[in-house]
Chain length 200, copies 4
């Protein structure tokens, strides 16, 4: 079992975010990596499975923390990856797709922002493998409200830690800042990977 | 947007489960279908997006119920599908895979059962697309503790509604009954679909 | 620190509940007692506080299980205590109080039942010390949705374990059965204790 | 039903907190007040009770938001009230009590801080009416992990919104700052009210 390492991100072109905000956020992300590595180690030890019950047991605690930290890592990497400040003009397949589903990018943004103001953890525009459809959904925490079979395309962190340093409780302004930094090349790449699988 | 219909399952070869237990469980499943259809309708209406806040709003309620019911539908369909009482002897690729990861099927069952006794909602043996690995994990409810990027291979419902009629609070016996009804042809089929994608 | 012991209840006059249903429910309750005793022991040991973090730590696991099991014990004892099948005709101070707030007992029952059908764990009619008011509220689990400063007067368990053996998924019939067994002498006693404090 | 108004707090003597941090936190608190007033209004309307189910219904949404916002209001008022920067030297009955239970104030602080680093929402030192005992416990959100029958004595907010503006992700320094501003006159007053009831 290999140890997981944090990925590196280049935030030099990200606008409307302070180095402090992005730096603290990144350190937080590395703690989830530490958590996952520790849990995986414990899950490899037989003593973790000594007591098995749903009220209070080491295995319960390990499984819950594994999902919490692992989901958090995946979501943070998707978030940092699509927040570059490069290629910020909507284009390509994601543009056609959004136009097709929402009528216009403006309509999409309006709904995306409304959902982003209404949830407590994450907002995603995703493809759902189960019924072959695209939609926006939101989570209340890293592991609560996750959609099974969702393939994330656009990922926005709405935890307070993502914006309080720069925006206080003004989440609306933070969402606008996020949207203006979205990298549509990355999003189109996610869509291409998806279409590759889908058409096979 | 098409209305989603409940799927049908043939439980005639399932052993150690009463028709009452399976029948009530199935009706419960259809209610999640009703829920999802209703939410999808509401999400198509602009009035649902009239107020956007994370304390109390229609959009918040709709998004939360959508994920809860949709996850529940997916998980129940996977559960009913792998609970047939046919092809109950481990075989094929799933056997090699489990031997490789856990050393033996007995070791796998021991860990699977321990986790199944320690969670409050679901237990899954899954493939994780993110870091290309296989593991067992568990959820506390339909939408709490879901693993992003998990591809379910074996799915066990440990909600009290899955077993109380037949087993009271004796979850251990229920898990044994479930395992003895597992359809390894279905599980191998899930694995084949997965390998098809993976090798492309 | 004294070990907590389960209380005993006399269910001999409870109608429309099978001994199996009540017996299994009671055993479940004793497991929460075991859990609490174990957690309290661990919280007395310094090693439990060796690592302090909100992603994965023994102290986190202990605190979470303590609240889960302790809330469950309190709620189950309140539930079993007001479910006797004796003194089942509404009377005394609780009658005046309900008439005053809801207009009639029928109106109260209608709202109580609606909330009981809409939550996943518990329903309570309570007095709230904070703003000096009475209301019905519900929880989704033992520890999720608990109301701080609530003083429980009527307590109904709507977890699936409370009724599946006798009623399958027909929760409505279970709620009716519960209401027909409510002990209003107990409820009036809770109200008297409350009024004693309130008027001091 | 009277409309609830936000309370006012004098933060002029609070050290190590910026006016920005306290100001944003206070505005957040007023939003929970708005939420509660809106929910109470909806709970007075019969249409809110038109559909009663635990997957998706207005009554479910109202009850959940009521508890979330009401708990949040109570906890924030307790927090702001004990964070004054006045009377910051431990004294009186709370001192004797803590010495008796924890051996020393230093021991108490060590455990309190460890739990504060391990939970995601709130930390409380409370009296528990149910088994007549005092202890520290923590919550993961306003409404998750609340202890029934707890009477709060010391209340610390560990949501990220409580400290990110001033401390980034350095929660340890925030907790120290909080402790150095604790008003022991207020805490002793809470204890006196409690003892009044307890000795009656």
């Amino acid at each position: 079992m290999k140890v997981i390492e944090p990925k590196n991100y280049n935030f030099s072109n990200v606008k409307f975010f302070s180095p402090m905000q992005l730096g603290e956020h990144y350190i937080l992300y590395t703690r989830y990596i530490d958590c996952l590595n520790k849990v995986r180690e414990d899950l490899n030890s037989d003593t973790t499975y000594a007591i098995c019950n749903s009220n209070y047991s080491d295995i319960r605690s390990a499984i819950k923390s594994k999902t919490f930290c692992y989901d958090s890592i995946k979501l943070h990497e998707l978030y940092f990856e699509n927040l570059t400040g490069n290629n910020t003009r909507i284009q390509g397949r994601i543009q056609s797709l959004i136009d097709e589903i929402f009528g216009s990018y403006e309509n999409f943004i309006e709904k995306f922002k409304c959902i982003a103001l209404s949830m407590r953890g994450w907002v995603l525009f995703c493809y759902d493998w189960y019924h072959d459809e695209y939609y926006i959904y939101g989570q209340d925490s890293h592991d609560e409200g996750v959609m099974l079979y969702a393939e994330p395309l656009i990922v926005l962190d709405v935890y307070e830690h993502a914006y309080m340093i720069d925006y206080g409780i003004n989440r609306g302004n933070y969402i606008d800042a996020f949207i203006s930094n979205l990298d549509f090349r990355i999003i189109n790449k996610r869509l291409s990977n998806l279409n590759f699988w889908k058409t096979e």
